[in-house]
Symmetry: C2
Subunit: 421 residues, 2 copies
């Protein structure tokens, strides 16, 4: 967990304001849920591996006997926990408030989540997630709106040229079926395929054999993986998608993927990269077990890692509502994007440091400050130190752009403001 | 704990944006600390009664024996807890990062805190606090900057006419000393005086006698309380402050209070209420035990309850740093202010609902949306329902101001947008 000092915090808030405003323009509406959810809901088997990383809150009012009685079943020590993602709370929120929401509900959630990760570089125990979700729309319109809003947001942040890698869990399932992997071995096979970027085709083949997956299926899949044409997925369209898949993937799955591409072409008429900003990737897996259809990942040419991702999870709302409702979400990696942007986009109001002598009466200082604030500036008062240079350098690092020296008895209108440089 | 639906969340974010921006203009810088702090720090006796309301997080990796061993000392079951205020984390933050901060550090913290309150109307277990603090300035400049920034923020929210009731813990101490209350009985006496607004002078006198406070002291205090001139505290200035206090309050305390008034007069040259927006109240107490000097409360003519408050806590930073540093903070009651503002200040970008027939291709829909978004509108797509009127009413409630009906094959440029009313 981290403290954020003023420069970091200001940068984070600037990025959040852009994200919030662009998502909103695309017709998404922000909601907020409490950071604490019921223990049972957080541990209902929906959150996958993240459930094990939940911080659980000690139940209040337990006496010593109750603690002793719970020693062998620690779940009884806790009734609440900190959310480890924003998807489980969203499903709970939607089930609770459905009657008050539009029939197609487009939500924004920008909020911290907590995971009890082991400390390691780039992994934090508290971090911000930025999710948009469309609930109640089974059509490709939902995916296209999510992807268009996300790419527009990246453009607004100065990260033009982002692309979305896309696949469908049903295409993956059909592929594994075509090659002859038995249903029980498929989850393990998917975990291995998910490593293709890292370990390559040879690594995937070796690991599938190590797993003891059906040998004939591994043979067929390894041959498919090494076909030369799978290296070139663009342009995005029905022809490419069919070429990248083995025969046997249902037409409706392909039609859904094609529909997303057509909508994206319409939504991005002046896309910086000519053509649709989508890449069909038949080997994209995504870790979470709850995905049921389209899955996608956000890529940017400046980095090798993903900047976000998401997918369809048509089954999850039903767990809370008792009735299936289609749902699809896209989460951008806020922490990664903030790191990537660095100090770009420092635009701000004019900011003036007033350096005053020790003997200037407080009332005069406040009059100077009030006059400059009323004129639209951001103002910081500083008593003149021995080392003025160091003070001005710090102020410049904090985003201040000008300074003025204040002596006693000076009329605010006569104050001489000079640029900091 | 509460869910916030889109209209509520949008209202909260609008208010937060104003608060954040006005505080910033006054030279305060936002920081952020993790919501989880060490258990020991949260329970170090600094947080007063709030410590008892902390949510504590179950330590991870305890085995059954460790749980049994901790049954009689549940503090051992927990190593982290959710913060119950923003002041304890700020003191910890300052002690950690002092070398990286300006010599006078003006912080903004806008963040949720958690208290395990019993459910009751208007009390929430998760709520947002908005604090500004000045660390490292013992002069009246600090109080004046806090009060000026707070009143400016309320003005910007449309809550002009706010006032600050002000007192000093040292004046209270001197007063109790003058009347002859013994030091051990003073904390209880203050708790009773704090109820003056609610139970009146008779109630306070009766409760002090019930407490068994020194009888001669109660006699003298009760007579003082009933002096007619204590009912009129304005105009704010040295004469009034002296008149409102018994003889014997140290001159330096009065000079500090007078200095704040002079600075505020300079900081608010065009105050909507003529004169200084301060009321000296010799019976203002404020609950928290950590206050050491000035204390204040924010009042607004439209409501009988306080909209915020704060004070000096010069001793607290020393608890973490091992060296005393002057500190003073002002917290505004965000939840109360949001409730008070209601739906005021709905200003927003133009917002258009596109109602489309079922047969309009997704690509055409996305093209319409992209064109309107590019032109600066917020856009929501809705499939035409049986009851169009209900849909448009809901959209208007969500802040949408216009709509257009979309049929298949219409050129985006030819779309007819009509106002919603």
């Amino acid at each position: 967990m981290r403290d954020f000092l003023p420069a970091d915090k200001a940068r984070r808030e600037r990025v959040l304001a852009v994200i919030r405003s662009r998502y909103r323009v695309h017709g998404f509406d922000e909601i907020e849920t409490p950071v604490l959810e019921d223990y049972d809901r957080l541990h209902a088997g929906i959150g996958g591996d993240n459930e094990k990383l939940a911080f659980n809150v000690l139940k209040r009012g337990l006496d010593a006997d109750a603690v002793r009685a719970a020693a062998d079943d620690q779940a009884r020590l806790s009734d609440l926990g900190l959310r480890y993602d924003l998807t489980v709370p969203l499903a709970r929120f939607y089930a609770t408030h459905r009657a008050e929401l539009p029939s197609v509900f487009r939500s924004i959630q920008i909020a911290p989540v907590w995971r009890a990760e082991r400390p390691q570089k780039g992994r934090y125990r508290q971090f911000v997630q930025c999710d948009i979700d469309v609930i109640g729309d089974a059509s490709a319109r939902a995916e296209a709106e999510l992807i268009a809003a996300t790419l527009d947001t990246l453009d607004a942040l100065g990260l033009e040229g982002a692309m979305v890698r896309i696949n469908d869990r049903r295409a993956l399932d059909a592929m594994l079926d075509v090659f002859g992997f038995a249903p029980p071995e498929r989850p393990g096979v998917l975990i291995t395929i998910d490593k293709l970027d890292k370990i390559g085709a040879d690594g995937v083949e070796a690991e599938l054999r190590e797993r003891g997956a059906t040998a004939s299926a591994v043979d067929a899949f390894a041959a498919f993986l090494r076909r030369p044409q799978t290296l070139e997925y663009r342009p995005y369209g029905e022809g490419q998608i069919r070429k990248a898949l083995p025969a046997g993937v249902p037409d409706e799955v392909i039609a859904h993927l094609v529909g997303i591409g057509e909508a994206m072409a319409a939504a991005r008429p002046v896309d910086p990269i000519p053509g649709v900003p989508l890449v069909f990737d038949p080997f994209l897996v995504r870790g979470m077990g709850y995905y049921t259809g389209t899955i996608f990942e956000l890529a940017h040419p400046s980095v090798s890692y993903s900047l976000g991702g998401g997918g369809r999870y048509d089954g999850m709302i039903g767990r809370f509502l008792g009735q299936d409702v289609p749902a699809v979400g896209f989460s951008i990696g806020f922490e990664r994007i903030v790191d990537l942007l660095g100090d770009a986009a420092q635009a701000d109001t004019p900011a003036i440091v007033l350096v005053h002598d020790r003997d200037v009466p407080v009332a005069e200082l406040l009059a100077h400050k009030a006059a400059l604030v009323a004129a639209g500036s951001r103002v910081r008062l500083e008593q003149r130190p021995k080392n003025l240079k160091a003070l001005l350098e710090r102020a410049a690092a904090d985003g201040y752009t000008a300074f003025a020296a204040v002596a006693a008895g000076v009329n605010p209108a006569a104050l001489e403001v000079r640029p900091l440089d």
